[in-house]
Symmetry: C2
Subunit: 457 residues, 2 copies
Amino acid sequence: MSERAPASAGGLLVSGCDVLRVPPEGECEILRAQDIVVADGLIEDVRPTGTAGAKGGAGTREVIDGRGLLAVPGLVNAHTHSAMVLMRGAAEDVTVEGWFNDRVWPMESNLTPADVRTGARLACAEMIRSGVTTFADHYFFPDQIAEAVAETGLRADIAPTYFSSRGREALEATVEFAERWHGGAEGRVTVSLGPHAPYTVDDEDLRTLSEHARRLGLRMHIHAAEHLEQTRSSLERRGLTPVRVLYETGVLEAGALIAHGCGIVEQDLPLLAEYAGTTAVACCPKVYLKHALSPLTPVRELLGAGVTVAVGTDGAAGHNTLDVWEALRLVALTQKQAVRDATWMTVSDTLRLALRGGARALGLQDRIGALEPGMRADIVLTDLTGLHCRPLHDPRAALVYSARASDVRTVVVDGRVLMRDGRLLTVDEPALLAEADARVARILDTSHGRAVQHYDP
Amino acid sequence: MSERAPASAGGLLVSGCDVLRVPPEGECEILRAQDIVVADGLIEDVRPTGTAGAKGGAGTREVIDGRGLLAVPGLVNAHTHSAMVLMRGAAEDVTVEGWFNDRVWPMESNLTPADVRTGARLACAEMIRSGVTTFADHYFFPDQIAEAVAETGLRADIAPTYFSSRGREALEATVEFAERWHGGAEGRVTVSLGPHAPYTVDDEDLRTLSEHARRLGLRMHIHAAEHLEQTRSSLERRGLTPVRVLYETGVLEAGALIAHGCGIVEQDLPLLAEYAGTTAVACCPKVYLKHALSPLTPVRELLGAGVTVAVGTDGAAGHNTLDVWEALRLVALTQKQAVRDATWMTVSDTLRLALRGGARALGLQDRIGALEPGMRADIVLTDLTGLHCRPLHDPRAALVYSARASDVRTVVVDGRVLMRDGRLLTVDEPALLAEADARVARILDTSHGRAVQHYDP
């Protein structure tokens, strides 16, 4: 069933599509009837369809008929744990503590490298299907994830999860992974260092990892201030907020992608603002609602401090899907309610957060997040002709409030077609699903009483 | 492109499907490999596949191969304004007041009966596609809606919207509509009386309509206590909460489906409890979030008072879709957060709310809401084999947290197949979409300055 995507050596032309333009500020726009010209994995030109003047027109171009479709920049999933798709739906209706200590961390102690390999490929396949072209992963057995990314053609920033309980050798292994894989898969894989959280990684390890990050030119990806109780607990135990711990241990200086940040408080804002250019917070509202958390990520305050905010799904053991459409819609909905202002987090702002914000959050703003000449050709063709989008007064509103992952038709990453008209070209879906199903019973068995860690932030 | 569904005179057999059982209390269950036997629009039997003992087996049965699919009771959209699909995406990022006074009520003043006819058919088509088999509608030109329901084969309770500003003749017209259509379309259409809200319908009209409802054995469908500011305003202006107005004018006594109820306060609970057996509240969280409202419908308190709660989408001018999967997921997510309890509004409770609650909310609990012998055959076959649902540890969790409307394959109402394997059988989709598109520019034009009403609750 699998079929290799052609290498597109002669380039790619997506013809006749509408194009979503996401400017750095102001309203997003729809450019009608455009051609997107791709060469060597880069967007060479976006121009009215059929107009002359293609540069580098030599060679055979693969052509995708984009008529009737809207091209959007590939979505960015700014925080996930890819292989947790294997535990999708296996930890419902439990408290945060129960989720970690009774379900997920015991299940994760069952994971083998082969499990993660299968889980990561399954996650990649799900993300390709839903128009996610880049993801920020944070997980165990990162080599398996990197190989899945290389194989499926996606783009990812991979942070190997590290707990201090794993010891110095494990810390060094994460650094070695970074040295091995940063810039790999033709540049589609980048690596961040991934201390799990300030409550599971001690200050000394945070300092060591920050130093490695600065030395190697890497960013950090870490859970911090996941909810307000964590911040309060940190203040009680050690007199510092989690964000101040990141500040004092050099994590913010290295450049940090902070997962969640629902417990970021006012005193944290100046610390974050000091490194605003290289700091981002990934907001994953579905899991906050599901875990009954309040408040949510203080998006307005963070943007006000100049900090980048992006959209993530977290792992599918909490979020149940890796669907960034669902996640960005929830960011818009929950943020409007959180600040009691229906005119805020507009359609354009939400798309900008998800796309430009996602790119910045991974340090990839010069490569992805917009369909413009010079950017990598990460292109998603969406079909907004379904009944749930009609009449289509405003395609931008449809993207935020009506569209579904199933409206994605064709996905291109780095100029390579990964899904064409609903058909995955780099994944053997039935074989992969059979492999995943075969692993499940063992992974879900928690009768052994082990766990990767105990949750007590 | 249209194709009439056969009359299924000889009955219907859905063979080999799994079946979602939603008990009145406790955990929902998945019955594996069942046959659903349908005769004369009723479920005659649900039994392990291939077992003998079909009653009424004479005649030719239409067979649907249900293997690999999960049969769920048809979803109920407990509050919508069907024809507002015509305004989908045309009122974004505005306050509640702006939404009513600058956008929706001016646009609605453009609507003709032919517009509503098209809009209602478009809404029916969208709902069939997403597995909604029954909806509670509240809108203008109700004859057009009833005809759309009759034609497309759905089931609906239709409340003709009434404002006191329309005058006594309009009130009487709504009663005449009820007399004409209640029990129509082979019993698939029921009618409720539809005073818009206590802030747009005066007490005398509420009393008159309540009397008509009691006389005719109809229920009432009304917006009330939509948000807390409305309740406060009502208390200031007249010393009564909106729910007390319903109580004193006989609306609760007649039996009421209350839309939204986010502004229901503690003093309202005993009033609602007095008529708990015939009172329901439709919760439509996407629009509350989008309009930045807080608090949300007090679902826990209402259920505690014995009042039925159901799930709705409201009109697509606010909700952007008529997708009840999306709505029920948001009920689970937002209610967990609202009461700060992740163990509440469980997967089973959410499904029960949407299905059994939906049926009760429309007074149809003896006909729909469960796949059991004696119930009308409103059956939705869902395909949970997509990547976003895999591995499928728990189909119940997948329904609430992973499934999409696009996972619906086949839809049966009253034993008649309305969609088969993704193909609509009672709607000419391209013709309908062309008709809708042709009407849009005129409907969206608000340069005339008219409005159906002024919002000032």
